[in-house]
């Protein structure tokens, strides 16, 4: 019987010889945890260090689940607003103003390869204003997704909270956030 007939796991995109599916099957059979597999991979790397030819596949592996990660980050950020919704929220005449403010680094924006336009995480707004620390954060971490991942990640040193959670509870801790953002790009 061919290996792929037994497999319930997601199919590999590039596996012309089906040999990787056999590995999938074995891992599944022994019900190995992600930690187990990581350990096997670590050992494998000792004998087969990654080389330049592996770059594309390693990048692809690192991106596996990226959509789910983005969804988690956006949920933690309170969801997204469109340019029109931001214009209405902040009392601007049209969506051009949010776009200008994006270009000036005053608004945190994310985009998607399969969707047109910019999207504005809701967490940066407080009532009809932009939180004062947003432009300061973007001076340090200009990329919207990088800034958002940094803001929503939970940290051991913050007692398991994210910087966003910390600031929503106590806006006086902005200075600490900016020190951490400076360190992030150091």
């Amino acid at each position: 019987m061919r290996a792929e007939a037994k497999i319930d796991e997601p199919q590999l995109v590039e596996d012309p010889k089906q040999d990787k599916q056999v590995i999938f099957q074995l891992l599944s059979k022994f019900n190995l945890s992600a930690g187990d597999v990581a350990q096997i991979f670590a050992t494998y790397l000792v004998k087969h260090p990654a080389v330049e030819e592996d770059l594309d596949r390693l990048r692809s592996a690192l991106r596996c689940g990226a959509t789910e990660e983005q969804a988690r980050i956006l949920a933690d950020a309170g969801g997204l607003l469109t340019s029109e919704e931001v214009a209405e929220l902040l009392g601007y005449r049209g969506r051009q103003t949010p776009n200008n403010k994006k270009r000036n680094g005053e608004l945190l924006v994310v985009s998607f390869p399969n969707r047109r336009g910019d999207f504005f995480p809701r967490c940066q707004f407080e009532g009809s204003h932009v939180r004062a620390w947003i432009p300061e954060l973007l001076k340090r971490i200009p990329n919207g997704w990088s800034a958002l991942a940094f803001l929503t990640a939970r940290y051991e040193d913050l007692d398991g909270q994210s910087w966003l959670g910390v600031l929503l509870a106590d806006s006086a801790r902005v200075g600490e956030l900016l020190v951490a953002a400076d360190a992030y790009v150091s």
Binding site: L45, E52, D54, W145, T152
Partner: protein
């Protein structure tokens, strides 16, 4: 005092006294090739800084430049690497831009004439009265006190094990001798093009968006 008191490391750091440079066991066989990881927006690839770190602080009378024995150690000790390390395992998501923005350099070091303390060498630690490797690996406040004491005794830097990777690190204190010992940095690649680094990030369940 028993012999074991000299040999055992109880893991308890102590504070430094005034050091006598003539009695210090300085490091030998120093590597001549080092790696450095800098953000693309850094004003220059190799910049001595007083930004808060293990052996640097705005309150110290000298600036420090950090190196690693390999590219992965340098990444782990960079701002991005440190930030990842502090996050919950499930929240280690970074962007392609984050990796593209970090540039790797190699630099040659001519160590002859440099007085470097090898913190991993127990004889060197004994020569300065440091009771434990923890003096250089635990609390940053204490590590900085040791750095200042060593600087005052004429040290040009400290060799130590990375706390975040398997490699070694060099903290070089700013001085004429240190500057003269450093070669010109050679840009190697950005982190996004470093296959062993990507493999190590994948192994540790870092995700890329």
């Amino acid at each position: 005092m028993s012999v074991s008191a000299f040999v055992d490391d109880e893991g308890v750091p102590n504070t430094p006294c005034v050091l006598d440079s003539n009695c210090i066991v300085w490091g030998q066989l120093i590597s001549q090739k080092w790696w450095h990881n800098a953000h693309e927006k850094a004003s220059q690839p190799l910049a001595f800084s007083n930004a808060a770190g293990r052996f640097s602080d705005p309150g110290l009378p000298f600036k420090t430049l950090y190196f690693g024995s390999d590219s992965i150690t340098c990444f782990r000790e960079s701002g991005l690497g440190r930030n990842l390390n502090e996050r919950f395992l499930s929240d280690r998501t970074i962007t392609v831009d984050d990796l593209r923005g970090r540039i790797e350099y190699t630099v040659s070091l001519t160590p002859s004439g440099l007085r470097l303390l090898n913190a991993d060498d127990s004889a060197a630690r004994r020569s300065i009265g440091a009771h434990s490797i923890a003096c250089f690996q635990a609390n940053h406040v204490l590590s900085r006190q040791w750095a200042e004491a060593l600087f005052s005794a004429g040290a040009h830097g400290i060799l130590y094990s990375s706390a975040r990777s398997d490699g070694a690190c060099l903290a070089l204190f700013e001085s004429t001798a240190s500057r003269e010992a450093l070669g010109r940095p050679v840009q190697v690649r950005c982190c996004y093009d470093n296959a062993p680094l990507l493999a190590s990030l994948f192994r540790e369940r870092v995700k890329l968006i």
